[in-house]
Amino acid sequence: MFQLKWLLSNLKGYRLVYAVALLLSIITQSFFLIGPIISQNIIDIFISSENAVENIQTKSDLLIWLCIAMVLFVLLRTGIQFLAKMLYEITSQGVLQKVRNELFRRIQNQDMHFFDTHTRGDLVTRLTGDLEMIRHSIAWIIMLVVESISLFLFTVIYFFTIDVALTLWVLSLTPVLFVITRIFSKKVRPRYITLREKLSRLNTKAQENIAANRVVKAFAREEYEKEDFDKYNKEYCEYSKKAAMTWLTFQPYIEILAQALWVVHMLAGGIFVINGQITIAEYSVFSALLWTISNAMRNLGMLINDLQRFFASISKIIDVYYARPGIVNNHEYTERNRIKGDIRFENVTMKFGDVTVLEDINLTVKNGETVVIMGATGSGKTTLMNLIARFYDPTSGAVYVGGKNVKEYEPDILRCNIGMTTQEVLLFSDTVDGNIAYGKSDLPFEDVTKFAHLACADFIEKMPEKYETIIGERGVGLSGGQKQRIALARAMAIRPPILILDDTTSAVDMETETQIQENLTKLDFECTKLIIAQRTSSARYADRIVILEDGKIRECGTHDELMASKGYYYEIYSLQNGTDKEAV
């Protein structure tokens, strides 16, 4: 029931509209009870009556008025129905959008741990399929509950005024119905939860296949992928059937019970009439309105079914809605003031699970300094950088930026002071211009071209629509080196006091790399640069070089110092510059 409470709290702002819609629904329901009276009148007066023929001549005005009334009455009813329908849609769409935006906002503020444990396909399922259930519950389930209950109550009260005993007889089947629906709801719930899981898996599989389409082709694994997908497809198909079959197993009992009302009415009512307890006219009143109770009973089963589905989905949404990120913004947005670019690591240790990635790191980088970080694959270079932007908090120790512990900044204030490129270049399906100006969307066009030029991304000029060319999601249409240069331009374009380049020139050719390095020394803003690189040539303009090994700083110093100490750096330098004997 927590789920319903949550839904109700999200109805805020639409409660009045929704209440009006529900009220209109109830009114239309009563119209269904009253409406037939007009045509009944026509029949009674002008057709069935003994004076029918006479009446046509003498009361022709009445006949015309009744005909007009009939049309107007339906016009009124359908008008109200239309209005109610629109109000339901306004409410359900309004709430749906509100929750969807809110979920989007919350997901955006989640930390990396969240994205490590929630697959993209699953998150997409939650924000599409599961959210649809919110709409369905507001525009349909709740409406039907209110309609059924109100009609049911109207009728039952009316019935009681006619005859208590017969009413009780008619209602005698409802407890049985409650027992059945209770058993049913217990059985069907886990089915919907599993089905929901299967849908998410299907989504994840399809999503992964689409993302990996190049790998699939490279290995000619189309057949394998088809077979693999088939498993998920079949599973989803089977579980859909299972869930539906569970409903269909109970449905006949519920339906028979709902219809058996007429039998009870006929038998009990018939005997009552025979015994003289009620009149045949009273018997007819019961039979004319019995459908309202029968409908309510029938709907109950359907509603229970829908409700279980609703619960399975809403739980998934609430789960994301209330997931608390470890690293949070405490307030909404303040002015983005510029932080000074000095960085200090103090006894920083970082563990992921049992694995120690960084151990007791102490490092100070002065404002405006250029530091190149090198080290073996998996030695912790990227993690070190991630700690500066506070994508993770260190297990122990502290990171200081601009003299302040990074935990004391709002993450967004901190991060907009850091221009960062990641190893795996992520671009957006947007124009080149839009991608470069991603961090600062009001960046003037001259600046976009200027930073593109600084990043040696001159190839943009050769593209069909230059800066207006749309590049595919993740920049799939571009070569690795081209993507890296756009990402570099994007990072520089926010003119950050701290620039972090994670292996940004690995796919760029030598000549261009040299040019980029030179350009980096000529930026028109003060900037601390941290550069992760594999090639010693990248260290050309570095003030200092840091060598990481197994999460520890093994060497740290200038090029000359490190060359003199003949350690790791010396070894690599020799290796890459051909002075190493083995390599020749």
């Binding site: 997409v124 290995f219 009439v273 025979i274």
Partner: protein
């Protein structure tokens, strides 16, 4: 079509066409038997249900009055029992119909999804490059799910309702032609209104499917690139964009449902006008005794039965218009041409030795914009070739052509003398090992990821491959070693580690031709050096193409080709090219 982004609607070229529905019928036909059975069951169920009112009538007219007279309730009891029986029969038959239809419906969407997915596997890179992934995803999952009901129950109900209408119309004509015509007069009005709404409705539902696809695309992309968004602290602005998209979706929805609601609104009113017209015309214009009062009475009850199925069909029609918007998208994807496919008489490429010949190869992604022009070269079995040159010069394109990821614009490529356009794609690509610039890690264990290259690889083979690429060491430090489950995209590994895994995957496939496209760019120099040692033995007997920027990687190749200006500007060994003092020399000395 120009490349699509999240906030651009995908225009649909084809106008509304019943052919989409006909095409859907191909999937339905497979379950023809189920549908016919279900139809029969429905008919029986409805027929049995019709007995109900007769029984009640008998009870009120005969059984109860007789009971009042004689005090005998047994006839009433008997009728009740009979009534219960008809209910049970009718419900059970209807239930069986539902079961059959549910199964058929699920099977149909299973079939459609399967075909759609299979076709997606055949589509070229460019299809995926040209649109956000989320837009493809919604088609495979959400859209397909939306069409099952209309294709099963929709069809059956349509048939039943049409049957109802015909049946009732005949009855009405039989009772009184003139009165029947009055009731029918509402029909043309209804049809005109529907025709008026139709194109609007179609547009509205199409717009909705576009807006929903845009929204999903942006959502998927935002989740994919969350790192970038957070590092640029752009959450607020993106939320603004998302709000814009979700508002567009809501507006499209409201428009579509308003039109839908109008259908219900108009059919109810037309019916009311027709009903009152019936009394008015019957009683006042034709008048008694030209028409009997009994037939007016009968006609008014038939009129209700005539209009109910029409109301139901109008509802079905709403569903149908909605489903067509999705079907169109699904079939549009299935109709997407497959440019690279097996030639008609394609034959299996026999086990290759690895000789590669390019003969005057010209290639353009877009017509008129050649990336490569008249490229010719020969690589002998077992040779290693390095491709160097500025980024964007076409190095990746050259190697992609060997696997026939694209069709050539001109010239041909021969492997062991076989034109690659004449052999089956699978036999060609299976013998090639390509390591791409992006190292994709699948969800699953590390072992699974390596095994992707050779599905029947033993654990021993996997370990051996990992050892060769120097990945064994770091894998063993992971919590569960080779059985460590990867997060999506392998996010717990470093970029270099991901490259090593994907390298192992390529190696285990035991390719005759190996293509390494920036395979080691994120791997540190020391690991790379070790890697080279392991590779030396592996490269023996295999032809290899290596794209790299680190000259230490390139130097030892048998042949180096400098790619620039749409072709090969220099070729030769390291020593030859150094002596030549051309582009390569410049590049080398720059390092």
């Amino acid at each position: 079509m120009a490349r699509n982004k999240f906030d651009i609607d995908e225009s649909l070229e084809s106008p509304f066409d019943i052919k989409h529905f006909k095409r859907a019928m191909v999937y339905v036909k497979k379950y023809k038997k189920s549908i016919i059975t279900a139809l029969l069951l429905s008919a029986i169920s409805s027929a049995v249900a019709l007995l109900g009112p007769l029984i009640t009538k008998e009870a009120v007219d005969v059984a109860i009055p007789r009971g009042i007279e004689t005090g005998d309730i047994w006839y009433t009891v008997l009728l009740s029992a009979l009534f219960l029986l008809t209910i049970a029969v009718s419900v059970i038959f209807a239930n069986i119909r539902q079961r059959i239809m549910t199964k058929a419906g699920q099977n149909i969407i299973y079939d459609i999804r399967k075909d759609l997915f299979a076709h997606l596997q055949r589509l070229p890179f460019s299809y995926y490059d040209d649109r956000p992934q989320g837009k493809i995803l919604v088609r495979v999952v959400n859209y397909v799910n939306s069409v099952s009901d209309i294709l099963t129950n929709g069809i059956i109900n349509l048939v039943l309702e049409i049957f109802n209408i015909v049946f009732i119309s005949i009855f009405m004509l039989f009772v009184d032609v003139r009165l029947a015509l009055v009731v029918f007069a509402g029909l043309p009005v209804f049809i005109i209104i529907m025709a008026f709404l139709k194109s609007r409705q179609r547009k509205a539902w199409q717009a909705l499917s576009n807006k929903s696809s845009n929204q999903t695309a942006y959502l998927a992309e935002s989740i994919n690139c969350i790192r970038v968004t957070q590092s640029f602290a752009r959450e607020q602005e993106n939320l603004g964009i998302f709000k814009r998209l979700s508002t567009a979706y809501r507006k499209a929805w409201m428009k579509a449902v308003t039109l839908n609601a109008l259908v219900g609104f108009s059919v109810d009113n037309i019916r009311a006008i027709a009903d009152s017209g019936l009394y008015f015309v019957g009683l006042m214009i034709i008048g008694y005794p030209a028409v009997s009062l009994g037939s007016i009475l009968a006609m008014s009850s038939y009129s209700a039965r005539f209009w109910q199925p029409i109301i139901n069909i109008a509802q079905l029609y709403n569903q149908f218009i909605n489903a067509v918007a999705y079907l169109e998208r699904i079939f549009e994807t299935m109709d997407e041409p497959v440019p690279v496919k097996n030639a008609e008489n394609a034959y299996e490429l026999p086990e290759m030795t690895g000789k590669v010949e390019y003969k005057n190869v010209t290639f353009a992604y877009e017509e008129g914009k050649n990336i490569l022009e008249n490229v010719s070269f020969t690589v002998n079995p077992g040779e290693s070739v390095a491709l160097v040159g500025p980024t964007g010069a076409g190095k990746t394109t050259i190697v992609n052509l060997i696997s026939r990821f694209y069709n050539l614009t001109g010239g041909k490529i021969l492997i062991d003398g076989h034109d690659i356009s004449e052999v089956t794609l699978e036999s060609l690509r299976k013998q090639m090992g390509i390591m791409l610039q992006d190292s994709f890690i699948f969800s699953g264990t590390i072992e699974d990821n390596i095994r992707y290259g050779k599905l029947d690889a033993t654990e021993e083979e996997i370990r051996q491959a990992a050892k060769t690429v120097c990945a064994d060491e770091f894998i063993n430090t992971l919590e569960n070693g080779y059985k460590t489950e990867m997060y999506e995209g392998g996010s717990q590994l470093s970029g270099g580690q991901r490259q090593l895994i994907s390298f192992a995957r390529t190696l285990i496939s035991n390719p005759k031709i190996l293509v390494l496209d920036e395979a080691t760019s994120s791997i540190d120099a020391k690991t790379e050096k070790e890697l080279q040692k392991g590779l030396q033995s592996l490269l023996k007997g295999r032809t290899s193409f290596i794209i790299a920027h680190r000259l230490s990687t390139i130097k030892n190749c048998d042949k180096i080709m400098f790619i620039n200006n749409k072709g090969i500007t220099e070729a030769g060994t390291h020593e030859e090219l150094m002596a030549k003092k051309g582009d390569y020399y410049k590049l080398y000395t720059a390092q």
